[in-house]
Amino acid sequence: MITQSFTVTSPTGLHVRPIKTFVEAAGKFPCKISVLSKGKKVNGKSSLSMLTLGVAAHDEVTLEIDGEGEQEAMKTLGEILLRIHE
């Protein structure tokens, strides 16, 4: 299992669109992907659960990824967290 933390840059935080991008990318990996923020941990393949985290701009988010393809998943998903979304 690998973990890494990211500071969300997108001005509106993790809203519908960035989460959509994230979840769609997460769904392509066979490994288990968890997203942690402010003491809560949710399934990174569920957009609804990710929304309930209420991640705002500049919040820190930790990815916990376990299983096949975890390195590549971390790279792809971390990049999505750092990117600025419309």
């Binding site: 509106t12 519908v16 569920s46 957009s47 929304l51 309930t52 600025i84």
Partner: protein, 576 residues
Amino acid sequence: MTRKIEGIAASSGIAIARAVVLNAETYVPVRSPAEEPEREVERFRAAVRQAQGEIERIRASVEEKLGAEKAAIFEGHLLILEDPDLIETVEGQIREEAVNAEYALHEVAQTFIEALGQLEDEALRERAADVRDVSGRILNALRGVQGGDLSQLAEECVVVASDLTPSDTAQLNLAVVRGFVTEIGSRTSHSAIMARSLDVPAIVGAGAGVRGIPAGAILVMDATEGVLLVDPSPEELAAYTEKKAQYDRRQAELRQWAKRASVSSDGHRVEIAANIGKLEDVQKALDNGAEAIGLFRTEFLYMGRSELPTEEEQFQSYKYVLEKMAGKPVVIRTLDIGGDKELPYLDLPKESNPFLGQRALRLCLERQDVFRAQLRALLRASRYGNLKIMFPMIAVLEELLEAKRILEEEKTQLVASGVEVSETIEVGMMIEVPSAAVSADLFAKEADFFSIGTNDLIQYTMAADRMNETVSYLYQPCHPSILRLIRHVIDAARAEGKWVGVCGEMAGDLTAIPLLLGLGLHEFSMSAGSILPARERIGSLSHGDWQSLSRQALSLRGHREVQSFVQQQLEGGIHA
């Protein structure tokens, strides 16, 4: 008798029409045993597929009518239908507890609706409406019930509802719907956002009073002020009919200016730009026809957090704005902290007079780690658009030269390490300290442009704290002292072939605009909402006339005299 209800003006405009009342049925499923859970799961899946088909159809029609951006809401809905934490949990519950699909779905959806409803962020809280919308659609499919279809409305009306789901709003028949009023909701509700993009007047969050509105009642909704009149008197009706006509006329007039160039009546071209302080502001600037970003305040990147932003984070933000402006100029001001803006994590010593203390560039020259990181981020972003870098709070030439030297050092290093940096970045400075204004000729040789920060320039020239109400009468943008400084700055820049902008409140002030135009200002940078009236004003002015009128104004006795002089000239039609 007229009944008056107040709510939140979510989308501006005035509408007068009869009420169509939507009675949202509240259906709470009853728990009942499922004899064959697998068949119940199948029934659930079929309902999800049906909902998918419906949403896909709405999405396509919204995309056709309103464009892909608005249709994205429904992509979000489709995503909910595929959400493992929703779908798999419902199916799990049906199997494990052998319950009916309606009940299981309602239970699971409710947990999400509650969790989302508790979030601090208003926009995220509104996402509960999506879950309600989607789960309601699946429930209808399970029950074989037809949902209400607002595209069937055939007569001119104002829609009154407890709340409108995103799919309701998207399906409103715009040929007849004049506006809508809801009991709940906020400015960031889907329905409110949708109303603004459809340009339909809307009042949301009007409270329980909405429930008593009878179908067919005449409604006057003034969504410029968030006021709803039920059964207005003939006098009120007449007054609002007139107000509506005026409002609609004015809006149509202003909108014409969004796509026009900023040109005076005698053909003198200037540039109207927007001031922005957040990334979200860029779209608003473009919507209002901004020709450039004249001031991008970067403080938002540093404030409201516990540590410095990384270079990468800054790079992403600058790149975003540059790309979004697609080649139009973007003036980014380096960090302007200090004064009334503090950053606790920098642990700066308390100053007894922060506005006269180590503010903005003064601080950056001391804390070069902070400054250099920002400059690197700017340089790296430069190749994504038309970047201009601006230094704030410069009082003496040495400060500008030192800032430029540091910038050059960072640039050389970046280029040496193989990073692509634009070769055409203009480097300019704010004029807000009187010493810089008075000696603008000295700076004009070294700076590529000036942008006059009138708010601070006035405060420092008048020696009047702009936060202190007892001396607020000294905020006098049109005082001859300020106008003379501005004239001097513009003349000094022109002598060196450089351009000058104003990025304070004054740039959007309709009384100051004729004077600034006459003095030869090149760029007017203001909040997005001021752009259209400002462009309209410039279009009505003769640059030639105001060249001499503005010189006359400089010799008047004071602020009030200048203002009434301008008013007289405008009313006298000499400008036409």
